[in-house]
């Protein structure tokens, strides 16, 4: 229905057109997103900002195929996501997306290595391949020596690095980070941001990051501001405000 509104951009990895999201019904209905159009190309580093309740997290969940829009069209790599089943979206996440959460969300009592290898297990990689790719991912976040430590033996910054290693171990097209520095002090936070920037620069991974801190958003190449469920402004970093 919204296909008409969707002007096909050949180099866009992600395209949103007229996305709305309503929670609840009738009187209690709350419209979190009121028509969002957004286009993101391969290799971009986009920060999504906005006050609480502006719809930025909802937009993130829809972009991450964790949630579905009430209406509107979402093209990922040229494929319609809004009409996908639960399992199809899970497979899309498995094959093309990586997630980093504010609360790290590592499995308890599980070594860093096993946490990182988990997505590979679901992809059906062999033990040898899992080991090799898992160690490579840990190496790229500088935690090779901590492979056998469990989450409780790691600092917050280290846990977030493990989470990033887990997110990139499958070589995803897009890495989605929801307040990745929210639970860290500013020094660790900047370290994590350096890491994300290098992932974007060196591996060409597209990064979408939700944050409310301007100095964290400053690491991104592009900043999208949400206000009241709509995009208020969308500009490249370095442009005048």
């Amino acid at each position: 229905m919204n296909d008409a509104a969707l002007t096909a951009e050949p180099d866009a990895l992600i395209q949103l057109a007229g996305i709305t999201k309503t929670y609840g019904h009738g009187q209690a209905a709350f419209q979190a997103l009121r028509g969002v159009d957004l286009s993101i190309r391969q290799g971009e580093f986009v920060a999504i900002m906005g006050p609480s309740g502006s719809g930025k997290s909802t937009a993130m969940n829809i972009l991450g195929c964790l949630d579905t829009p009430t209406s509107g069209a979402y093209l990922f790599n040229g494929v319609h996501v809004e009409s996908m089943s639960r399992d199809q979206r899970a497979l899309l996440r498995r094959n093309h997306l990586g997630f980093v959460f504010q609360g790290f969300n590592l499995l308890a009592r599980t070594s860093a290595q096993e946490n990182v290898e988990l997505p590979l297990l679901y992809r059906g990689e062999s033990a040898a391949a899992r080991h090799e790719m898992g160690m490579a991912a840990l190496r790229s976040v500088g935690l090779e020596a901590w492979a056998h430590h469990t989450s409780s033996e790691l600092s917050g910054g280290q846990q977030q690095r493990v989470a990033i290693a887990r997110a990139i171990v499958t070589n995803p097209k897009v890495l989605l980070a929801d307040e990745p520095t929210g639970n860290l002090d500013s020094k660790r936070g900047h370290e994590i941001m350096e890491l994300l920037v290098s992932m974007n620069r060196d591996h060409g991974i597209t990064i979408l990051m939700v944050t409310h801190e301007p100095d964290i958003a400053a690491y991104a190449k592009r900043v999208v501001h949400f206000v009241d469920g709509q995009i208020a402004h969308d500009r490249q970093n370095g442009e005048a405000a």
Binding site: R94, N105, L118
Partner: protein, 402 residues
């Protein structure tokens, strides 16, 4: 995929050893308690019916007076004589053996050893009626019975207490003022249903005991063994009629004797034991239920942590059915393992207790299966259902679960 899921499940079990251990423990206790109690109960029932049948099959006991035990109203009822037994043998049909018996407890002396035992006077039918078999030597012959010769056949306990390892056949024992030649040894029968040692006995010809020990012509109990397939009701009727006639009872007088059927005693006793087994089974079922509630608690308590785990798995691209299969596998592995350990523990406990309590060890597949099935089902259901609910959440909601 199946292999991956199994790997995931086993990893989670290993990682959460405490939770796994508690789950397994609940199942182990439930299964072991039920199986042990019911198996021992069955063993007790079997033991009682074995003891009853060792009394003799199709056996009737004719005693003077009504009923046995306290409050019997006719203590003064006249005793039987050997002739009563003879009359029964001749006049009642479909009998196998009729043995008049008289009992006396006396000290028996061999060399320097003495032993107080129960001496029974009877005829060679006694061994048929009582299901006795000879281990050594021979039974009485007709001449010895008629003449009341001092010959005796001893039970296994008497043999053990008074004689060394060599065969006692041909040796003599001293009983009161006379000495008596041992001509046979009986095979052991063990305890009676009432807990008496049946092997603590010496059997002599009826006439020998009457003459030398009791000094009377009286007979205490007449044991009557019926042929297989004979109707005990008919035989009892015939015996009653015959005895009423011989004891000259008029129509309005009650019997001053009683005929007991061991089958009836057996029925009563196994009924009582059956009630006990049912009671034990009920206690065990409660413990199975409590074990099941324990499993439920552990599973439900861990749901919060596991909901987040499910959220993580879903977010990184696990399919709902993969997550569910993992949780199901975990539950099945834990429950099956707990069940098997429980069965093993029950087998060991039953084996040990059956020796201590000298009961037969009867393995019952049905109760093993039932206990295993029930607790495994609880483990699987309560491991799986909460996980199913969590896996149906949106990954984001599952991740936010506090």
């Amino acid at each position: 995929m199946g292999w991956t899921i199994l790997l995931l499940a086993l990893r989670e079990i290993r990682r959460n050893l405490m939770r796994s251990f508690l789950t397994v423990l609940g199942i182990v206790i439930g299964v072991a308690a039920v199986v042990t109690m019911v198996t021992l109960g069955n063993g007790a029932t079997q033991s009682v019916s074995d003891q009853i049948s060792s009394l003799g099959s199709n056996l009737l006991m004719l005693r003077p007076g009504q009923r046995m035990g306290p409050g019997s109203g006719s203590l003064g009822a006249p005793s039987f004589k050997a002739e009563d037994a003879e009359a029964i043998r001749v006049q009642v049909s479909s009998l196998k053996a009729v043995a008049p018996t008289v009992n006396r407890t006396t000290v028996v002396v061999v060399g320097t050893k003495n032993w107080a035992t129960s001496i029974t006077g009877s005829n060679s039918d006694y061994f048929t009626a009582g299901n006795w078999t000879l281990e050594d030597g021979r039974l009485f012959n007709a001449t010895e019975e008629r003449a009341g010769k001092a010959v005796c056949i001893i039970g296994a306990t008497v043999r053990k207490e008074l004689f060394e390892a060599h065969s006692p056949v041909g040796d003599t024992m001293r009983i009161k003022q006379f000495s008596c030649e041992v001509i046979g040894v009986l095979a052991a029968k063990g305890q009676s249903a009432m807990g008496r040692d049946q092997d603590d006995t010496v059997v002599m010809p009826l006439r020998t005991v009457q003459r030398r020990l009791t000094g009377k012509q009286d007979v205490n109990t007449i044991l009557i063994s019926m042929q297989d397939g004979a109707s005990s009701e008919q035989v009892i009727n015939q015996i009653s009629l015959l005895m009423r006639e011989r004891r000259k009872l008029s129509d309005n007088e009650d019997d001053n004797f009683s005929v007991q059927d061991t089958k009836e005693i057996a029925k009563t006793l196994s009924g009582a034991i059956g009630t006990m087994t049912a009671l034990l089974g009920a206690v065990a079922a409660v413990s199975l239920l409590v074990g099941g509630i324990g499993i439920m608690n552990i599973m439900l308590v861990s749901v919060t942590e596991r909901t987040r785990e499910i959220g993580i798995r879903l977010a990184i691209g696990a399919l709902e059915k993969e997550v569910l299969m993992q949780f199901l596998t975990e539950a099945v592995v834990l429950s099956a393992f707990g069940g098997l350990v429980g069965l093993l523990l029950a087998a060991i406990a039953c084996y040990g207790l059956s020796i201590v309590l000298s009961l037969p060890f009867l393995f019952s597949p049905s109760i093993n299966l039932l206990a295993f099935g029930f607790s495994a089902a609880i483990g699987v259901i309560f491991g799986y259902v909460p996980a199913r609910r969590a896996a149906q959440l949106d990954p984001i909601e599952a991740l936010r679960h506090e």
